[in-house]
């Protein structure tokens, strides 16, 4: 049973560029959440997708956008990259409505903005 998979593993971009990160949830899960983890910090919530809609959003600008596909996989898009966007981007999947609602995380995509 495959867990949460993310691609690519590493990415290097320059300021002003755009990037797309991808996530496939754990089998049987229908909800995907994205987090940003800056160096030396805990993960910060970006947004959550369920039924192909953004259900909740954290304190991130509109440059951060996402999408969920019918197969529950998800993309995170970041436009007009800034140096401060350099971080580990984590995808977590869960089952909506499940008691305890454990979020399972992928290994992350390391984004470096130069």
């Amino acid at each position: 049973d495959a867990g949460v998979t993310q691609s690519p593993t590493h990415l290097i971009k320059t300021r002003g560029q755009q990037v797309t990160l991808r996530c496939s949830p754990k089998s049987g899960h229908d909800t995907v959440s994205w987090y940003q983890q800056a160096l030396g910090q805990g993960p910060q919530f970006i947004f959550q997708y369920y039924e192909e809609e953004e259900r909740q959003r954290g304190n991130f600008p509109d440059r951060f956008s996402g999408h969920q596909f019918p197969n529950y996989s998800s993309e995170l898009n970041v436009n007009a990259l800034l140096l401060g966007d350099s971080a580990l981007y984590l995808c977590a999947s869960s089952l909506q409505g499940a008691l305890g609602n454990i979020q399972y995380f992928g290994a992350g995509t390391r984004l470096s903005v130069l």
């Binding site: 959440s33 805990g42 909740q56 305890g100 609602n101 454990i102 995380f105």
Partner: protein
């Protein structure tokens, strides 16, 4: 609003000794509480959770956590530490009384187990 505090950036313990990693939380309603572990260049791995019921929760790899409502704490414990337990540990909370669907994480505690 929901928040988590991990007051110790670093915890050092000798192998074989008991370990404790501290966590306190703030929510308006009842909390879901979680502990995750992160190894270098890896994502977060789920260790254990508290929803309701017994205040002592047992999880993976011999870890347990004690929920204390009066002190709003959820400390992670292990009776006998292993060198392989060395990693970054995160406490997280979700407020059942609010509209938040996301987890709020603490800043993390680096655990080092010395041989």
């Amino acid at each position: 609003a929901q928040s988590v505090a991990q007051p110790e950036d670093q915890v050092n313990v000798a192998e074989g000794n008991p370990l404790t990693v501290k966590c306190t939380y703030s929510v308006s309603g009842n909390p879901y509480l979680f502990w995750y572990v992160q190894y270098p260049n890896r994502g977060l791995q789920f260790l254990l959770k508290y929803i309701t019921g017994d205040n002592l929760v047992k999880g993976s790899y011999g870890f347990e956590a004690e929920f204390n409502k009066s002190q709003t704490s959820f400390h992670l414990k292990k009776p006998s530490a292993l060198v392989s337990d060395s990693a970054l540990y995160f406490c997280a909370v979700r407020d059942l009384g609010g509209s938040a669907r996301q987890l709020t994480f603490g800043s993390g505690t680096q655990l080092t187990v010395l041989p």
